[in-house]
């Protein structure tokens, strides 16, 4: 049965490295249901970043089909991809990627500007999101006035601002200590319980285990059947 929400079949990605053609992804099939919390677990060089770029519509596959919310991503141009990234994908990066000159509120506002909302609505929405991640006291702090965990919360608030279909996280705890990392993962679980689909890419099994389902990637191939139910799933 075709899944219109998120469906990948036979995704191949090749890069021209000098004279050599390097195949990074070798036929990925992946289906994600709405409301899932999925981890893609793999060591560095396994192709997981490339997969993330394709899931996040930052890159298009060389071969294969990627359907997201009924649209064939491979057939879209740069402008349409930008629209999809804005409306359907919320990115959370390892290094937070906050703009240092803007305060928390302005950082969260950023995707809403490209979404075309009026300023009043943008500020209201941004504030709502920061309250959601527990930073109601830090609205006007700049990134350098926030701890790592707080910065990642701002980034999560920003990712959720446009109410995307998928929260896409790339090593979200990679730059955090264990305690803070666990807090961020707790937040992820909460967000997932509210019904948001989360796809998280990591090399760390203990982090991956926070997800309800884990798929492993190795040498550009997904190892299927690695379903996982962690203890908190009860």
């Amino acid at each position: 049965m075709q899944n219109d929400f998120f469906h990948m079949t036979g995704i191949v990605k090749q890069y021209q490295m000098g004279v050599e053609l390097q195949t990074v992804l070798r036929g990925i099939d992946l289906t994600v249901n709405e409301g899932e919390f999925l981890s893609v677990l793999g060591p560095s060089g396994s192709g997981k970043s490339t997969l993330m770029n394709i899931i996040g519509c930052l890159d298009t596959p060389t071969e294969g089909e990627y359907i997201l919310r009924g649209r064939n991503i491979g057939k879209l141009d740069a402008k349409q991809l930008a629209r999809i990234r804005n409306q359907e994908i919320g990115f959370v990066f390892q290094s937070f990627q906050l703009l240092p000159r803007l305060d928390a509120l302005r950082n969260v506002e950023l995707p809403l500007i490209y979404g075309g909302l009026g300023e009043k609505q943008r500020m209201a929405r941004a504030e709502e999101m920061l309250v959601r991640v527990g930073l109601q006291d830090k609205l006007h702090n700049r990134p350098n006035q926030l701890s790592g965990g707080q910065q990642q919360r701002v980034a999560i608030a920003r990712a959720l601002a446009t109410n995307p279909s998928i929260l896409l996280a790339d090593e979200p705890t990679g730059a955090l200590d264990q305690t803070t990392g666990r807090q961020v993962m707790k937040l992820f679980e909460e967000i997932n319980r509210e019904g948001r689909t989360i796809i998280m890419i990591t090399h760390d099994l203990s982090i991956a285990q926070h997800a309800r389902r884990i798929v492993r990637i190795l040498d550009g191939v997904l190892l299927e059947g690695e379903e996982h139910n962690d203890q908190e799933d009860a």
Binding site: N53, G56, L58, D59, A78, K79, A82, R83, R85, N86, Q87, F91, F93, S95, Q97, L99, R101, L102, L110, P111, I113, Y114, G115, G116, L117, G118, E119, R122, R158, T162
Partner: protein, 404 residues
């Protein structure tokens, strides 16, 4: 859609200002080239404009609608006869003719005497067309001219030497032994007539105006070699000039170089063309500074783009379209160049104001010069910001994000 575009512009503006502000020194050095270029252009245009308007004003004051004739004549006939004058007067659309006869003489009053006084002979037309010529007393009338009255108007220099501390009007002066009655004092600001000054080469003794007919009798001169022809309306100047030409040719038997007609209007327009050509040349030279400034901005924008590669990648990941990224960087470079332009306009105007005081020229803030300066700098911002902005917009978001 409009709302979206508007908020995007606003955001781009805010980001650009923040970025420029966060590297003040670098931004300042970058726009310095633009500042210098625009300063030079504004100062040049403003100074040249006030110089042009001053020159034009002076020449216009000498009278448009006036043809000055120098008729030195031939060996057989020096100058024009009174009959010739009548012929000229009868040319269509000629309002009047003012002959000019000049000599120098020693002038006496009852108290004193002065050497080398310029004695100019004119008629009533001269006064009619040169307003504010007389400070006190009355002008020459046609009756004075026709009856060869011995009346005189004296200038301030002559007055001081001949009638120090006295009211000269009604007093007597003696020119070459002939008694004249002073009927008026010329105003000091008779300097508007540059050409007359040059012709008369007024000496230190001062200047006295008498009826030309009286002066001709006095000096024994029969013919007139200098006169002004006044046209009823400036629209007829060309026609009158042509007719005058044929009259003069006939009067001097078609001999070359027997006369010269100076048309004030064509003089003014020639002057105008010359000055505006000079302005254009100077602006062209100053534009080189603007070009160099533009390259400076381009350089800074390229540096900015590579410094902010990550930011660009992030914005793209958050949904910025290539065009939106391009717009942001273009706005930044335009803001840089326009602020340079505005500073340049201020400097340029200040400079030309100072110059106008030193050179005692008039100073007027010229709207076109400001528009030129700001417009030029904005154009520089667009032209030289285009390539860097384009580069930013085409950055691959993955590469951009990876460069952390």
């Amino acid at each position: 859609m409009i709302k979206k575009t508007l908020s995007l512009w606003k955001e781009s503006l805010r980001m650009s200002l923040a970025n420029i502000w966060s590297s003040k020194m670098r931004s300042f050095l970058t726009v310095l080239g633009i500042v210098i270029g625009v300063t030079a252009i504004i100062a040049l245009v403003t100074i040249m404009q006030s110089a042009t308007s001053k020159v034009t004003q002076q020449f216009t004051a000498m009278g448009t609608g006036r043809l000055v004739v120098n008729a030195s004549g031939t060996a057989l006939k020096t100058g024009l006869t009174l009959d010739d004058l009548e012929t000229i007067k009868s040319i269509q659309n000629v309002e009047g003719v003012s002959p000019s006869v000049s000599t120098t003489a020693t002038v006496k009053s009852d108290n004193d005497w002065v050497k080398d006084v310029t004695i100019d002979g004119y008629n009533e037309m001269y006064f009619k067309r040169n307003a504010k010529l007389v400070d006190r007393g009355r002008e020459l009338s046609s009756l004075d001219v026709d009856s060869k009255n011995r009346v005189a108007l004296i200038d301030v220099t002559a007055q001081k030497q001949l009638f120090y501390g006295k009211d000269p009007i009604g007093q007597k002066v003696y020119i070459r032994g002939n008694e004249f009655m002073v009927i008026g004092v010329l105003s000091e600001a008779d300097s508007s007539d540059v050409l007359a000054q040059a012709q008369d080469s007024t000496t230190d003794g001062g200047r006295i105006i008498v009826p030309y007919s009286t002066l001709m009798t006095l000096t024994g001169v029969r013919n007139i070699s200098s006169l002004s022809v006044y046209v009823t309306d400036t629209a007829y100047t060309k026609q009158v000039e042509a007719d005058l030409e044929s009259v003069l040719k006939a009067a001097f038997n078609y001999k070359d170089n027997s006369y010269r007609i100076i048309n004030m209007e064509s003089l003014v327009s020639t002057m105008d063309t010359m000055l505006s050509m000079m302005t254009m040349l100077l602006v062209g030279i100053a534009s080189i500074a603007l070009l160099v400034g533009g390259i400076g901005i381009m350089n800074m924008m390229l540096v900015t783009v590579s410094e902010r590669t990550t930011e660009i990648g992030l914005r793209k990941a958050l949904g910025a379209e290539p065009g939106q990224i391009q717009l942001q960087f273009l706005i930044e470079s335009i803001i840089l160049s326009i602020s340079g332009g505005i500073i340049g306009v201020i400097f340029g105007l200040t400079l030309s104001y100072i110059f106008s005081i030193i050179a005692s020229l008039g100073f007027a803030i010229s709207g076109s010069a400001i528009a030129l300066g700001v417009g030029f700098s904005a154009a520089v911002g667009i032209v030289f910001g285009w390539a860097p902005a384009r580069k930013a917009s085409t950055l691959n978001p993955i590469d951009a994000l990876r460069s952390v």
